[in-house]
């Protein structure tokens, strides 16, 4: 049986329900599975989505800043990849906010604060990007384990897959042969504490 591959572009464009529907259409899964409902997060599930939209926002801002910075030591192909990641992060946020609906953060609720010189060199960019992707992957791992709504779990799983791929790319770009062991899930409290160092509340003293 011929198997239709879903490339990363398709993977990103499709919603959780759409992914299953597309897979059904391509014969990967039975058509009945196309009835996958859109994410309907329950109480605690919202926590992971709220965290994700803020953390993905920080990483989008970081990749944008990294792409804008020239002469960092990245090749042209690597820079194009960074730009694609920034776009993918933006797509993640749009989808996360759509799922959160009225609970989605509004423009101006918080702002990204990057450490001084964060995008000055290739080594610094990779270092901070690894830190952010590791935080996201560890939080998504917790989310996949704990969210109640199955469609939300699938959605977080897809975000986890993307960010884990990005983490692997970063490690490869830094010259590391392979990821240094499996990542462990992180408690949301600890994750929030780590994310706070990259956020500020506009018009409020820190």
């Amino acid at each position: 049986m011929a198997v239709t591959e879903l490339d990363r572009g398709d993977f990103l464009r499709l919603g959780a329900g759409g992914l299953v529907a597309a897979a059904a259409a391509s014969g990967l899964v039975p058509a009945t599975a196309g009835a996958q409902l859109p994410p309907t997060p329950q109480d605690d599930d919202v926590a992971f989505l709220s965290f994700a939209t803020a953390a993905e926002g920080v990483s989008r801002d970081f990749y944008r800043a990294a792409f804008k910075q020239r002469k960092t030591g990245f090749s042209a192909a690597q820079r194009r990849h960074i730009n694609r990641v920034a776009s993918a992060k933006r797509a993640h946020i749009v989808r996360l906010n759509a799922v959160l609906g009225g609970d989605a953060p509004q423009a101006g609720d918080f702002a990204t604060v990057l450490p001084k010189g964060a995008v000055k060199t290739k080594a610094r960019i990779i270092g901070l990007a690894e830190q952010l992707e590791t935080l996201l992957v560890r939080t998504y791992l917790t989310g996949v384990g704990y969210v109640e709504d199955s469609s939300t779990r699938l959605f977080l799983g897809r975000l986890l897959t993307y960010d884990a791929q990005q983490l692997a790319w970063l490690r490869s770009a830094s010259g590391h042969a392979s990821p240094g062991g499996l990542l462990s899930p992180i408690d949301l409290d600890a994750a929030a504490g780590e994310l706070d160092s990259f956020l500020s509340t506009p018009d409020f003293p820190d």
Binding site: V46, F48, F51, D103, A192, L195, D196, T201, D203, P205
Partner: protein, 247 residues
Amino acid sequence: MRSISNLIRRRLRPTLILALAIGLAAPAAASALNVFAASSLREVFTQIDPSPTYNFGGSNQLQLQIERGADADVFASASSQEPQALFKAGKCDRPVTFATNKLVLIVPKGNPGKITSVRSLRAGGKNLAIGNAGVPIGDYTRKLLRRLGLSRALTRNTVSQEPNVASIVSKVGLGSADAGFVYVTDAKIANDRVQAIRLPRYAQPPVRYQICRVKRNAESAAFIAKVRSGRGRSLLKAAGFGLPPKG
């Protein structure tokens, strides 16, 4: 003797009456300006200008009073919702943002409920003080809890709903509640009775204080100018409020 008495009656009585009239009029003149303001502004507003007659309370209650014709010259709210509603109803001038704030979780000194983070509330069994729905602090708290995925904390814990932020501070400060959600400025004022636990930045709802003139008189304009002046901003900052850009 009679002539002295007559002298007092003729010369001093008008003077005494005049002095009495001035004496009675003076306090009225000093409190001619009625400022309706959110409870969380009590300390700082009385520092900025002690002379007006203040009516501090929950912003939604103050809005209701103004809608029903209460004699307010200025209205300062802990959110934009109430003054904007009055503005749309033609009951105040266009509101302006003059301060910002953030939420914290407070626990009594010594933390008898052993609450170390907002997530401690998931387990339930605590006494929690929050603002009523409709009061800005109550609405902000519910929004924050939704973002943190902790809405169930309101059913898993014993919740007392308070009409304003001062009541929440009081309840927690007295140990009647294990924890409560208030503004960071209130926690600062009551730091001898309560300790604050930070909340994640990503979950913070934007808290913006707005002020508007209910009556178009020079006194109300002068009061708003005082609040937004360099001195007013310094006092707001010292009290722990955030400040919007000047303008």
